[in-house]
Symmetry: D2
Subunit: 372 residues, 4 copies
Amino acid sequence: MKALGVGLIGTGYMGKCHALAWNNVSAIFGDVERPRLVHLAEANADLAQARAREFGFARATADWRDLLADPEVDVISVTTPNQFHADMAIAALEAGKHVWCEKPMAPAFADAERMLNAAFSAGRIAIMGYNYIQNPVIRHIRTLLDEGAIGTVNHVRVEMDEDFMADPEALFYWKSEASAGYGALDDFAVHPLSLLWCLFGHVEAVIADLSKPYPDRPTRDGGRRAVENHDTASVLMRLPGNVSGVLMASRAAWGRKGRIALQIYGSKGSILFDQERMNEFQIYRTDGRATEQGYATVLTAPHHKPYDRFIPAPGHGLGFNDLKVIECRELIAAVAGMSFHAIDFAQGLRIEKTVHAMARSFRDRRWVEIAA
Amino acid sequence: MKALGVGLIGTGYMGKCHALAWNNVSAIFGDVERPRLVHLAEANADLAQARAREFGFARATADWRDLLADPEVDVISVTTPNQFHADMAIAALEAGKHVWCEKPMAPAFADAERMLNAAFSAGRIAIMGYNYIQNPVIRHIRTLLDEGAIGTVNHVRVEMDEDFMADPEALFYWKSEASAGYGALDDFAVHPLSLLWCLFGHVEAVIADLSKPYPDRPTRDGGRRAVENHDTASVLMRLPGNVSGVLMASRAAWGRKGRIALQIYGSKGSILFDQERMNEFQIYRTDGRATEQGYATVLTAPHHKPYDRFIPAPGHGLGFNDLKVIECRELIAAVAGMSFHAIDFAQGLRIEKTVHAMARSFRDRRWVEIAA
Amino acid sequence: MKALGVGLIGTGYMGKCHALAWNNVSAIFGDVERPRLVHLAEANADLAQARAREFGFARATADWRDLLADPEVDVISVTTPNQFHADMAIAALEAGKHVWCEKPMAPAFADAERMLNAAFSAGRIAIMGYNYIQNPVIRHIRTLLDEGAIGTVNHVRVEMDEDFMADPEALFYWKSEASAGYGALDDFAVHPLSLLWCLFGHVEAVIADLSKPYPDRPTRDGGRRAVENHDTASVLMRLPGNVSGVLMASRAAWGRKGRIALQIYGSKGSILFDQERMNEFQIYRTDGRATEQGYATVLTAPHHKPYDRFIPAPGHGLGFNDLKVIECRELIAAVAGMSFHAIDFAQGLRIEKTVHAMARSFRDRRWVEIAA
Amino acid sequence: MKALGVGLIGTGYMGKCHALAWNNVSAIFGDVERPRLVHLAEANADLAQARAREFGFARATADWRDLLADPEVDVISVTTPNQFHADMAIAALEAGKHVWCEKPMAPAFADAERMLNAAFSAGRIAIMGYNYIQNPVIRHIRTLLDEGAIGTVNHVRVEMDEDFMADPEALFYWKSEASAGYGALDDFAVHPLSLLWCLFGHVEAVIADLSKPYPDRPTRDGGRRAVENHDTASVLMRLPGNVSGVLMASRAAWGRKGRIALQIYGSKGSILFDQERMNEFQIYRTDGRATEQGYATVLTAPHHKPYDRFIPAPGHGLGFNDLKVIECRELIAAVAGMSFHAIDFAQGLRIEKTVHAMARSFRDRRWVEIAA
């Protein structure tokens, strides 16, 4: 696959993560030409220069629109705060660039729809940064489900929990404002939903309960301010094929750091996974003698593709940032017109639609059906 | 506490478990007089004789009503199938005996109510066999919550899963008949509910989703019969004090054997427990330096009362049957007029009321409030 | 198997444990007549009376020799401190009683030899209280090894660690005196050795390193006293069939409570076990597809005999005290002339011989061979 | 720190790993100038060209000596098979280049000594690729030990196990030849030794037992060939400060994939770590109330430096390859004359000396002292 010219907007953590992916993808995979790191944009000109040097980009600018005009740029990584995604992604697509945009698409559903329309109109590749689905474990679980390794799935539970909002005495900040969204639902639940899309496809119906662990939080001036969204979300779900499910998310769950815990139950076995131990999964199967049946804890290994591209020995472990390199490889495949495994804007929009349906089910205290 | 004369109805597993408890309670606790094992009833006269010999009972009968008339019997263990609980417990209470009845009270709510009324009228002790709450771990968690060890609780999740109904090709049997109840909801969820009652008190509102992993099961004649109740239940709950909760139960969860997994999140920490590893719990607290914060896996030890009565050294482990000995000790305390930790008929009825509310919320697809 | 008349010497924890076993063995197993609890001896006459009442013994005495003369006593449980074992066991055997003696046999090897000789001369059953080998997990591991489930074993590691001597500021007490033995070696290592005997038979050669985590400990008078034995022991071993092994023991290992961790490596798989989670084991096997190979965590279940005698459902868990009931059942079988699974005085002596060889290998800083 | 010109010899897995590190180090750390990837050597000219393109190197050659003459090359990564290390590293040092050499130094101790002498003579930086010590967990454990977080250490156990030699029917290959070294001892034990050096410094005395799980292995021609070295090694050790230790290593341990399990016991607590779960460690400490004491499982987080340079959120996890980036940063610091944390040739030689002492202790069946 031929070399792409890369533009990068934003150099915070996700920008760095994209930069690492662009730097590593050819060394890791071998089957793609080394991308040319062409142009980097960061609000502050000096910072832009510094980051370009660190990240290996040839040019730097304080005006992200310079990337649109740069003929050497084929694809643009959008890693800025969520409210800028729509404008940047749409402008990039309209300028004929492919887009690799961090999740979520946009706070407002209408903006997300505009993004998808822009991708359709431009006929360019538009991929979301849902990197958890790139974990070789998740890819292997998908293979296992396809093979019927645990029979027909009938029940799923998924939990996503962190504790960065767990301290009731931490200062109120923008994440607790209504304008920042529903809370755990859009901040977190989109990730489990990306996994559910990847493994099961559609969510058909939901009823959610949202709650506020803390009604208010302290402010800098010594007062307290009411929390405007919900740090905890619990959702009953129905998925295709008579699968019942539960999705739970909390950003106020003390002790949890990067937990995305899956439980998948089928007619012949079950599978467990937790992103906090991202290099292993557990599988229980009913074959063999009952006296030795139990959950097998499987460590990732070269046979769990594409782990082999990173390390030739089993049990040595990928890191979180490595998932972005795999995602990058999928993006490049997409641009090359090959089949790819990633969440594009169309699927991304479905995820956001599901989140909004969950919020509605909470507001109305009733089940909400979601059209496919 | 003085010696009680004991009658036992039923000698299946639970009957054996009661018999062991009556045999062990004085040796274990030391502070109760050794009970006199007076009279045992089992439907078959020969079996009754054999069991009386094995279990150490003085007399045996094929007619359980003989126990009512036996003046040496002070308390009667009722361990027969659920449909007999009401008649036996009520008759025993009316005969002036104390009653120790296995869970649940009765399949029909009206029968359960009659049982409670009988206990009130008789002025006798009437205790249910909810033994999981007797685990020293659960008792210690209750202490921790009372002390505020994890601050104010804001979210709870509890899962009870086994796999004895997980095989879709296992023959249809009575547990799948509508007459056997709702399925996972009353068969299983009562146990997590007993823990929730013990730790948090009331459940205020619920909405449940029930599902059938398998629509039908094979019959002995080579046909298939429709399953009439639900092997999986998922419930959103509201508990007092702004606590949101999720209860999940499945008797078709391959790989789970005796799982009752609790997650309790508070403003200063969290607590985890799983009955499959009943001799340990995990606690995360926010005190101390952040760089060493993590879930501490605590093994039970003599300081987790009444573990010390069983074993003087830490980390050696109680067994499931030991919980019944603790329950027995609580029953004896109750009879002696002392404070006790057990679920009596009044609390037992509230648990069953909650289960029926859950079933109604599923039927009507709406939240159901439960009066305290 | 017919009813035995039981005498019990000693009513500390192990005495209580024996009493529970005698009380429960017929209810649990069904295939043995309920033992008659005849005569109990405890140094203090009042305490003897109280314990007899609690434990269900008919008679009590402050003179253990009364049990020898009691014609109703068939078997005597010896649960007193180690230095009394030899005299009591030998007297009991000479009086024609069977003996169930807590481990170890005796501090001095010569005394242990006398005990074995007494058992031979008397032609009576003489069993040691090495209860860890009675765990259904250990019994099942033995079956797995016999079946070749992990092929031919080539390497074994076993660790026994507790932390009751881990506090350097705990007062000096008798366990640190030379007269109490070598330290971790005889206090602890005998248990792992009982497992090794059960699983592999003989230990052929050893070289040990013993160490003192703390050279001295505080005394009550504010001074410090030199520690006279070794709280930590590490041993390289050779076992039959080209098996290399390592045995590690510490009673100063902070965090460990009742750890006995086994690792067994074979040509087709491996097995792990830790007594702190006594109701499970892990097995790795090379059959099946590599992509799902991993350690299976197997929870004990009725098919792991004799778990089924205690509980009819999987994953509910036995306790430490239950192991003694199984041991009691084996003793009764032995008395009935049936095959049994327990460590008798002959095997017990071999374990103590091995311990002494380890101590010698440390003293002489060289490998020591042990005759079979 | 200023930009280095980089040469790379060898492009197998370790070559790729070095290349990734050179590509990433400035983006990750920010405080080093982006290295210039100047010249790459690989035996095959075409492959060299291809790899240079993939890895981002400007020039490629089939003759590694071309790198010595390249004035733009400041530092050379040596990642070829072990037998080439000495010649290449010495030539590079003599050419005035800094050297980053994969472990071990050389099969023959004399060659390793020559390497160290060359480094001394050249006055250049010479660092070994012992990357496990770069894990933020290991660095944090070192800090904890320095702080006395678990008091004074008295006992250490370390196990390194994999299963790539566990199949007795795998074809005989060069790793089983005597010329390849002692077996597990030099192939594996050097890694645990690197951790011990990092955490405790010197090993004072050792006695090892080596064993051959399989005496012979099949050959391609249908015959069998005797195995010439030992796949399993067990070693008793003495470390400074009255610390006793055990080192165990096996490359025939079915089920183990990349296990390096540490147990460190001190007077106030203990620490556990296993490289298979490289993003966590466990710590037990004696402060606080006994009822909640247990091993805390701590997930790595930004406060475990330099995790923060990779990911700003806790619990997301580094990968094995990331450790090489940290090592690269240490090398650059060393070149810049700053303090650094890495194993240089002097320490590397001590590790190899210790390995040879272990082998001698096995041959002579006696303890061997090792001069500091």
